[in-house]
Amino acid sequence: MTLADTLQTSFRTVLSYRIRSLLIVLAMALGVASVVVLTALGDGARNYVINQFSSIGTNLLVVLPGRAETSGSFLGAVLGQTPRDLTLKDAQLLGRLPQVRRYAPLNVGAAELSAVNRLREVTVLGSNADLIPVRHMQLAQGSFLAHGTERNAQIVLGAKIAREFFPRSQAIGQRVRLGDSRFIVSGVLASQGESMGFNTDEIVIIPIDYAQQMFNTTSLFRILIEAKSHNDIEPAKRAILAALKQSHDGEEDVTVITQDAILATFDRILHTMTLAVAGIAAVSLIVAGILVMNVMLVAVNQRTAEIGLLKAIGATSSDIRRLFFAEAVWLSFAGAVFGSLLGQLGSLMLRLAYPQLPAWAPVWASIAGVLVALITGIAACLWPANQAARLDAVQALSKR
């Protein structure tokens, strides 16, 4: 029996048991589709997080007061307290390091903003002119805090604040009062919405000196550093630690977080998650494989007389084995193809429903889904096909 004839004959058999075949193909397809869709979801989430991180800056390092409990964990530093203060002097020192392109010191607080006859509490960021490039922020109108004019009473408004306070008139050049001080609006931030849990639309930015004065502090909340290049990130981190250790009397009391490290951590977590859901989805494929095995065993039993007949008219055991085998290959193949299409469709619907989520199934997942479907389907058929091949012709023929 030629290979083409084997495939064709078993294909016709698959077609003639329509409902049975449809059910198996559906089970297989759902398994493959769930692998594709779930990995699309997982990988989409991963890419979403990576995009979010990239949007807050490139080659970014964050210096914060306090030492991480365990090296490599930034959580300890975020949660820990009572470190020695970071000061503007520290920030200027870091700005002079050869690996550092620019830096932006950061203070955060809250104050009452009033103008015309409006009043509301806002989040206040104190920083310098380089905050815009370091943090990848964008201006909608006007200008940001000018270089070397930290003592000018300028204020930059978040998009929403500007809209609220000056719905009709031009915000630039307006006088506002923040806390007890007066400021002139020099710029308005472009609307960016939420980014890493921080809504830049509802903040105001003032020069760092004013902020320190207003909140009556000399310490900084963070120092944002942009390294000169990607390769400079690690050297910059070491240089920063060394420089601050020296100026802090030999104490290592700051933590430097690199964007890269955070990204890598998230990347790892989300990648593992994607693998995990893919694995769970793959279990449904194994279940489908068991279904194939069961159906093929029933088929062998049902077609015992037919197998006997085939042997009587000259089929060899391996002809019989191949026929049943090919049947399983067709079923698994159809299930895999149909499932891939279904999975792509599902991912497309995810992307339509959540446009910000890049839910594309990774190529490896699609290929793995199809392969696992084919392999389980075929493996599940080995035993039934062997049973069929080993049937005794005379006894098989006498079975009704």
């Binding site: 029996m1 058999t13 085939l310 042997k311 000259g314 002809d319």
Partner: protein, 227 residues
Amino acid sequence: MIRLNAITRTFHMGDQVVHALNDINLVITSGEYVSIMGPSGSGKSTLLNIIGLLDRPDSGRYELDGRLVTDLPEIEQARIRREKIGFVFQSFHLVPRLTAAENIELPLILSGVPQEQRQIRVDEALQAFELKQRAQHRPAELSGGQRQRVAIARATIMRPSVILADEPTGNLDHQIGAEVMTLLENLHHSGTTLIIVTHDRELGARAHRQIAMRDGKILTDQSDDTR
């Protein structure tokens, strides 16, 4: 030429031993028309299965066309079944989901005959067995006589030298049975060796050589000229 030498076939049913064939010696020359008769359980089917290489004897020698076939490997035996032997069964054994034409085509597919040739040969067979109108019908849509005609067409499509028919008329009424016998006898007239198992004395008597079996042994073996 079929030559059976001291063939035995034993079945074990629990601790009971059944000698289905007990020291059978038999020579059937090419082109003979032989009927095998005997009560149920006398070993007729077992004998036919061994001649058709569907079953192996426990001991004895079987030569087909001068070649010892008893101990051939499975693949070789399958090939001989394909090329030299045609089986016809009492219950037809058609594949229910295939059409008449597709059932007839099966042995050609197993032998790897190319598609175009298969088409031609199946058409010829449908013509010869007056099944042209029924080519696309499934077995369930055919009468008993038509089903057996399909089965005979299938058994002969490879032009075998031996036709083995195990009670081919057992499921047919008398008249249709006689028609089927005529078809089989026509094959004999064109040179095929024809071996028919039947328990119908009248049909059995149409053969030129009649073998009677009982308890796995050949009781009588008569040829027309010696009668």
